[in-house]
Structure formats: C-alpha cells, structure tokens
C-alpha cells in the first residue's frame, strides 16, 4: 500500500492573487491526511514561498502559469511547484540565509523565502533548467504514533 501515490494537480495563473488558493487546497489535502495544525501551517508557508518565487521571478510577461502537484502517499505529502519561466537561478540570486548572524545595518531585504522552505519542510529540491523553468519539490513526512507492520 505504501507505494500507492495519489495525485492532485492545480494549474493557476502565475499571479499573487492565486497563491491563497494553493494554501486552501493544501489545507484540505493535508488535514485529510492527518497532519497536525502546526505541520499544516509550516507547509502553508513553504508552499506559498515556492509559489511566490514563480509569481515574482518566472515570467517577464503576464499570462504565465504555475502548476502545483500534490502527491499523497501513506507516509508523506510532496508538493511540486513548477513554472515554465525564464529559469534564472533564483536560489543563487536571492540567497537563502537567515538574519541570525547579522546586524540590522547589514540586513538585506529578500532571500528569506528559500530559507523558510528548507527550515519548515523535511526535504526541498530545486531543479532549474535553462529555458524550461523551475521546479521546487517540497516533502513533509507524516509523523507516526505507531509503526505499522
């Protein structure tokens, strides 16, 4: 049974007004799977950050789309956010550092999105293909109260 993967796909305009729709769907799927309130809040932030990156950086013109794929198994939820944008190296460009070791005077605005994704999810992978867009895959494992045999 563990190998069964159920998939839900959303296709949305790459626009800030649609990111909350992704959060609503995530909430529905994750609560059905039995994730805790706190885990769902964490995933909401991480997935929104991935969508924000597509909205902000992928397309230079309007009309671009973002695909969000939810992959549900008995053990984990993986969310893949994919765009077909210009695919510049957004991770390298904005960085992924926290503010912990910085003074206010040396803090730069931006770059917290990827840091949050990595801090809030169990696995994060980013695939960048020149001219073919960016794919961010975020995975959260279900905490088990008991191991099934």
């Amino acid at each position: 049974m563990n190998s069964d993967v159920q998939r839900v796909t959303l296709n949305l305009p790459a626009s800030a007004e649609y990111v909350d729709i992704v959060r609503l769907n995530l909430y529905g799927i994750a609560s059905k799977m039995g994730f805790s309130y706190e885990e769902i809040e964490d995933m909401k932030v991480a997935v929104s950050e991935a969508c924000n990156n597509s909205v902000l950086y992928a397309y230079s013109q309007e009309g671009g789309m973002v695909e969000v794929l939810f992959q549900v198994t008995s053990e984990s939820l993986s969310i893949t956010v994919r765009d077909e944008g210009e695919s510049f190296d957004s991770v390298g460009a904005v960085g992924n550092r926290s503010l912990h070791d910085k003074d206010l005077s040396e803090v730069q605005i931006g770059g917290l999105g990827f840091y949050l994704m990595e801090a809030l999810m169990d696995e994060v992978s980013v695939t960048n293909q020149a001219g073919k867009g960016t794919e961010v895959m975020l995975t959260k494992r279900l905490a088990r109260s008991e191991e099934r045999v």
Partner: protein
Amino acid sequence: MNTKTNDKFNAKTQMSEGVCTVFLSGELDLSVAPDFRLVMEPLVGNSEVDLIVNMKDMTYIDSTGIGILLSILKARHGMEARFAVEEVPPQIQKLFDMTGIAKFFQS
C-alpha cells in the same frame, strides 16, 4: 485615520499619546504587500511617535510581509525611532524566531 479594507487583509491605524498603532488582520502575503506598504509609508517617517504593529488578528504572514517589516525596522533604526510588534500569534512568532527578525524587535 488611515484605513485599508480588503476581504483577506485589513489594516486600521490608531493614534494616541505619542503612539501610533496599526492593527492588522487576515493574511499578509504577496498579493496585499502593496496595500500594507501604502498604509505604513506615511507613518514610518514620523520619528515623534512610537510605531507599533498589533498582530492579534493576523492569520498568516509570508517572507514578503517579513521583508516589509525588516525595511521598516531599518528605516526606524536609522532615525532612532521605536518600531515594535505586539500580540504576535504563535505561528507568526515561530517564523520571526526562525528567520531571525525577532531579535530586532527586542528593544
């Protein structure tokens, strides 16, 4: 009185005795970031008053919202004027701690 109304995000400003408090409610994300900037812009430059953001009724913030708070912190720090947050919900405080912005609010 500076009020910005939106279905998902709302900001109300209250002025009293040298303190300007902005009450936020709903979700502060990328889509309403311009609204939030618009509310805060005229308030940030006034060094005569303490600037407080009350987050009691906020349900969500993303890195865009945190980025705006950071830029306000920097601006207020530069003019030696106070900027603080109050009644921060636990899930938002967690993000403040995680990103490291929390330490800049401590004063």
